[in-house]
């Protein structure tokens, strides 16, 4: 690499980071976690008693579970040094004009109104722990589609909410699911009635904006028989020096013949622990797709899962992990085949640079009696320098002889000849590296809506030329 290129790669891009004043918060919980804090949160939200009990029960699970020690390094997390709840404004705004000025400014920088005009059917934007802006196009409402923040979902649709909430990921699933269950706030609640196809993607943005503030959003998506929806979650976060936790839970229920796609572009700042549990149930002939990019954070542990519960259901997980300096992406996927003639395909692409570390951690499980299962797993890693690292941890449990399984894994480097070839066509060294990396993650990018693909490429180009923090 030339000196010039190295200089470019070391450029400080932190000036593009977001940061806003936290003076206007109307409520901030005490730092630290206790049953009192949990009860306060529930009371602030005027929740029904069953939810308060659910939260307290979850807190017990959280307290009794040891920290997981099989993934990334979690030893620096101090659960007593985190705010578990913040409420920036008192009301939920219905239109963009009602959103307070300081918050609008932030969203302007994120380009939300523009994005909405272009192709979005609804925006649920989470600022801190509470959703402050929410809109839904009239035709979706007419079709009976529900797209609300999760707190409103609980208030307005208590029956359907209670029926499904916590059923895909129960509070005792893992330590961080328990944490989320105890202190969750915000997130999206989506219900698509039978046979309804939501043509435009539903979208939500999430941000962490206060030092040491945990963000625990909770998303529940129910897609009824023969219905379909595409949900997009995009994250950006400002840089702070103290650690933050983002610990979300996303539950998806895809009923008979339903189709669900859930797309994430995760770009937390480099001090955020991103510990997320995402799982979907796919019933007979249903199809679930997780399209998942992890660019930022200090440590991400996230393994989007599909439980294939009905015959002929299908799962697809396409993921990209990028680990720059000081980052560890421990990401992967799980496909649990519980029914015959089910299909899963997992494609994972990872890029490590400047000493960053990526790990692919995947589970493929075929239950006894789940005959004629097909599964393809492919993970490709790209190492951009000698100090970076990548590992693969595939767990395979096949309990039925009729399964057709393939697993491929490659680790590659960018060759001098590839760079020379592109440079001989006029591209600079940085542009040549960019182009090769873009090509490498193209199986992911091509699945994104156009504007997101453009954003993704821009983000990666920025990362490749120095990192955004």
């Amino acid at each position: 690499m030339t000196t010039e290129t190295k200089e470019l790669l070391n450029f400080d891009y932190s000036k593009y980071d977001f940061k806003d004043s936290t003076d206007n918060y109307t409520y901030k919980s005490e730092k630290g976690l206790s049953s009192q804090v949990v009860q306060d949160i529930s009371r602030m939200k005027n929740e029904p008693e069953w939810m308060t009990r659910f939260r307290l029960k979850a807190l017990e699970h959280f307290d009794s579970r040891p920290m997981p020690n099989w993934g990334g390094d979690l030893s620096e997390i101090d659960f007593n040094n985190i705010y578990y709840y913040m409420k920036p404004t008192d009301r939920n705004s219905q239109s963009w004009e009602d959103v307070p000025e300081s918050i609008r400014k932030t969203f302007d920088r994120l380009g939300i109104p523009e994005a909405e005009q272009k192709f979005l059917s609804g925006v649920g934007a989470q600022y801190e722990s509470e959703v402050v802006y929410h809109s839904l196009l009239k035709d979706l409402e007419d079709k009976g589609v529900v797209f609300l923040d999760t707190d409103s979902g609980l208030r307005k649709y208590p029956d359907i909410f209670k029926k499904y909430f916590g059923t895909v990921i129960p509070p005792n699933d893992n330590k961080f699911a328990a944490l989320n269950s105890a202190v969750w706030s915000g997130g999206s609640f989506v219900y698509v009635p039978p046979g309804v196809h939501v043509e435009m993607p539903l979208q939500a943005y999430f941000r962490i904006n206060a030092a040491n503030m945990g963000q625990f959003e909770r998303t529940l998506i129910i897609v009824d028989e023969g219905a379909s929806v595409h949900y997009i979650e995009g994250c950006t976060a400002p840089v702070y020096s103290k650690q933050s936790i983002h610990s979300a839970v996303v539950e998806i229920i895809a009923k008979k013949s339903a189709k669900v796609r859930y797309t994430t572009i995760q770009n937390w700042s480099k001090d955020v622990y991103n510990l997320v549990t995402k799982r979907a149930y796919a019933y007979e002939d249903a199809a679930v797709e997780w399209i998942d990019a992890n660019i930022g954070s200090k440590l991400t542990m996230k393994y989007p899962s599909v439980y294939l519960l009905g015959p002929r259901s299908r799962a697809e997980v396409i993921s990209v992990a990028y680990a720059g300096r000081g980052r560890h992406q421990d990401a992967g996927a799980k496909a649990v085949h519980m029914a015959p003639h089910t299909y899963s395909r997992i494609t994972s692409k990872s890029v490590s640079k400047d000493g960053g570390r990526t790990s692919y951690r995947g589970l493929l499980h075929v239950a006894k009696g789940a005959h004629h299962v097909t599964s393809h797993v492919r993970c490709d890693a790209l190492l951009l320098d000698e100090e970076s690292r990548t590992d693969t941890y595939p767990y395979v449990e096949i309990n039925d002889d009729t399964a057709t399984i393939s697993h491929e894994a490659t680790v590659g480097k960018i060759g001098e000849d590839q760079i020379f070839y592109l440079m001989s066509r006029g591209l600079s060294e940085v542009e040549a590296y960019n182009m090769i990396v873009m090509g490498f993650i193209e199986p992911f990018t091509k699945e994104l809506p156009m504007t997101y693909a453009v954003e993704m490429n821009r983000l990666m180009a920025l990362e490749m030329s120095g990192g955004v923090g």
Partner: protein, 254 residues
């Protein structure tokens, strides 16, 4: 102004091994040269060094384009000065669509505002040029939606190289076709491409081991390389002599 590439007393080593031992050679816009020689004589090394591959170290001598010494420039800067190298074995870049690659490349070379790769050339201008070149070379437009060299046959790889040459409109092009003579499809693609693109604005140096390609292309100048030097230069009749007598004749005569 007529562009001229001059290679002057060029000594080059690769991984510490001396390969070129004083090569002298000139090519001008409008000329077609053939550089021939047995295996290991340094032909591909000459091609890579002219374009600026970082593994090839110039120990002595110069590469001069229009009076400017370019031996210290990186490959991208040489490309922007009008040099082109058609690779013997073009490299695969997975996931990179040929059109978007050509767009970036075209923009780097032809951007009018001196900020290559930043969208200096309007897309419509690029597209018009691309359509015109595809038509000229009789390449099906669907070809450009494939990934760069991925899964290409020998002939398709050459087609892709010739298309890039057509798009970038270099003043001097070096074609490393050392082994192409073995693949008749590839050979025809290269020969037809060169014949279509040749003209007063383009100078060509074809590097080849087999003289077969010269049945399709008529060079005005033929050079013979042997053990890191050009040992004979002449007109087309030199190629005929090589055809007749083989490289043994050179070894004996050198």
């Amino acid at each position: 102004m007529v562009y001229e590439l001059e290679v002057k007393d060029l000594h080059v080593s690769v991984d510490g091994k001396q390969i070129l031992k004083g090569v002298n050679f000139k090519v001008k816009q409008g000329e077609i040269h053939a550089i021939m020689g047995p295996n290991g004589s340094g032909k591909s090394t000459l091609a890579y060094t002219i374009m600026g591959h970082p593994r090839y170290k110039i120990n002595n001598g110069e590469i001069i384009l229009n009076g400017e010494s370019i031996g210290g420039l990186t490959a991208d800067k040489r490309a922007r000065k009008g040099l082109f190298l058609a690779f013997q074995y073009p490299v695969t870049v997975s996931g990179v669509n040929l059109t978007s690659f050509l767009r970036s490349s075209y923009d780097s070379i032809h951007s009018p505002n001196g900020t290559p790769g930043k969208g200096g050339v309007p897309f419509i201008q690029f597209k018009r040029t691309l359509d015109q070149k595809l038509n000229l070379l009789q390449i099906d437009p669907s070809f450009t939606s494939r990934y760069l060299n991925e899964g290409f046959s020998g002939g398709e790889k050459k087609k892709c190289e010739i298309l890039q040459m057509a798009m970038l409109e270099p003043r001097i092009a070096v074609l490393d076709e050392t082994d192409t003579g073995l693949d008749i499809d590839a050979l025809k693609v290269v020969a037809e491409g060169v014949n279509k693109l040749a003209g007063p604005d383009l100078g060509v140096a074809i590097i080849t081991h087999y003289q077969r390609i010269l049945r399709y292309i008529s060079p005005q100048f033929v050079h013979v390389m042997f053990e890191g030097k050009i040992v004979h230069s002449g007109g087309k009749e030199l190629a005929d002599q090589l055809e007749e007598k083989g490289y043994g004749w050179i070894k004996g005569g050198a």
